[in-house]
Amino acid sequence: MSIFDNLWLGFEVALTGINLLYCLIGVTLGTFIGVLPGLGPLVTISMLLPITFNLSPTAGLIMLAGIYYGASYGGSTTAILVNLPGESSSVVTCLDGHAMARQGRAGPALAIAALGSFFAGTVATAILALFAPPLAGWALAFGSPEYFSLMLVGLFTAAALAHGSMLKSLAMVVLGLLLGSVGTDVNTGVYRLTFGVPELVDGLSFVVIAMGMFGIAEIVANLEKRESREVFTSAVGTLMPTLRDLRDSWAPILRGTAIGSFMGILPGAGTTISSFLSYIAEKRIARDPGRFGKGAIEGVAGPESANNAAAQTSFIPTLTLGIPGSGTMALMLGALTIYGIQPGPRVMTSHPDLFWGLVVSMWIGNFILVVLNLPLVGIWVQMLKTPYRMLYPSIVVLCCVGAYTLSNTTTDVILMAVFGVLGYLLVKLECEPAPLLLGFVLGPMMEENLRRSMLLSRGDPSIFVTQPISLALLVSAAVLLALLIVPSIRNKRDEAISEGES
């Protein structure tokens, strides 16, 4: 089948009335929740995930894709209007987006963010359609050693690109892997690390961990600070960007799309780093870098496009290899397994309707955002006016109900509280929780592939370096690690990451 046949199949699936409706509901709900300050896409998706369980896998995933897009865009809206990034990838959007809002140009900022995202999403969809099948074909040749090495690369990248100390990020990854091994051992049926809790026999749920560590912990952290939000409600003004805005934006959008599309494909790299890279690139290229941070539209257009392109292309490693590039992707991967679909190179051939339907839905979700949500921006602004003291009890209730509905047990609710406390402590100790989630999702797969590799090699760990593909992957991980230890590059990375905060 050619790309066009594939995309055509996708359109056939996605454009059936019912699937389109689910996509629309997903986008609207996702934006609705995602726009609330302090709720990033990760929490939004995990809160809304239980709603999709009653649907068929295809419809459920399409709705989830809608939620994903809605939540991401909702996050950008909050970043621009309230200066509160929902997740790390919209940190840079805050810089110039919020500065634009202060100048009464929130409308053009929102419009450019949506248009840039749409353009980037379109290009990235094409790249996905082009590159996913050959990559999946290549990955079919992967055996257990290759998978193990690949996951190692993904986890290393995630730890390397996370905020702060690399040692701590690595420790978070290992902690995640450890949490992933809770439950019944698949090979022997032994209950591991369940501490006598019968509900833990099936393992921990990633939704519970995500809601606890990102939802509940975030609320506690926010309650510590006094409420000091400024919302630019009256100043959204006209949505239409001026001609000058468009002229200033098209090149950053193109560059952002290129950066994002490339970075998204790397396992473990994800969206955050591509938005940072795009921001830095725009600042370097600009004739007058002094404008950045003071409302330069390039600083919104580039990173938002990069972010979205990466979000789309990171579906390539997620769907074809089963290696997520970010915490949010880890969540999507977890959702797939809940629907009984094992992500990997075979998804494309065993569930072509689902795969291509999802790919096309992502694009349609993006389109719906542009035509539907921009006119509705007034409503989102109204939602932003809700004071946090009314908001956070609602989030707590939604998380509680969501955790309970996962498998109708209050144990999940209690576990969510436990992870809330743990997440809060870890954030206070400056340990970033996203690598943990990645480790958690990859843990069981990693153990399985490690065991199989060792069985194949009769207990000889040198199999990882004697198999050529595996060796190449490990060498790239080692190079990456070495690069990060070299001080000059390390400083560059710190500069890149901290630029978003200053």
Binding site: T188, R192, L193, V220, E430
Partner: protein, 148 residues
């Protein structure tokens, strides 16, 4: 770069503690050999790795010297928000969804800076009603609504 070493010492010790628990608990499962890994192999390996990483974090913090104070933590929101989640878990299957939501809203609101009955009561009522409508009526999830 700022030095947050006291923080790092605590973080490292936390990782060492979790790793130790994992090694001790998983050490009871059969370890197997590298060729035929038992259920204990991977968790013990990870626990050991976590202890090493934790120790390295502590060592680096002590090495670089200058111990910065621990971050400030306010216990009130932590305790009350956590309690509100636990209250939900406790009440849900005993008294039903509506009382559980009401109690959760009430307790979590005490964790904030301002508490106004005039806001909390309508909020609790609204959230209870909305949850019943969305999850019970709309999605058909089997919830015990109330019983006392």
């Amino acid at each position: 770069m700022k030095l947050n070493n006291h923080r790092d010492v605590c973080a490292g010790l936390l990782f060492v503690a979790i790793g130790t628990v994992a090694v001790v608990v998983a050490g009871a499962y059969s370890f197997g050999s590298t060729m035929h890994m038992g259920p204990g192999y991977f968790p013990v390996l990870l626990g050991g790795l976590l202890i090493l990483l934790g120790a390295a974090i502590v060592a680096r913090a002590l090495w670089t010297g200058e111990l910065a104070p621990l971050p400030s933590m306010s216990l009130r929101p932590l305790l009350l928000v956590t309690l509100s989640v636990l209250v939900f878990a406790f009440l849900l299957e005993r008294f039903g969804l509506v009382p559980a939501i009401a109690a959760t809203v009430l307790v979590s609101c005490f964790g904030g800076h301002e508490f106004r009955w005039r806001e909390v009561v309508p909020l609790a009522a609204f959230l209870a009603l909305a949850s019943v409508l969305i999850f019970h009526v709309g999605l058909g999830l089997p919830f015990l609504l109330w019983s006392w």
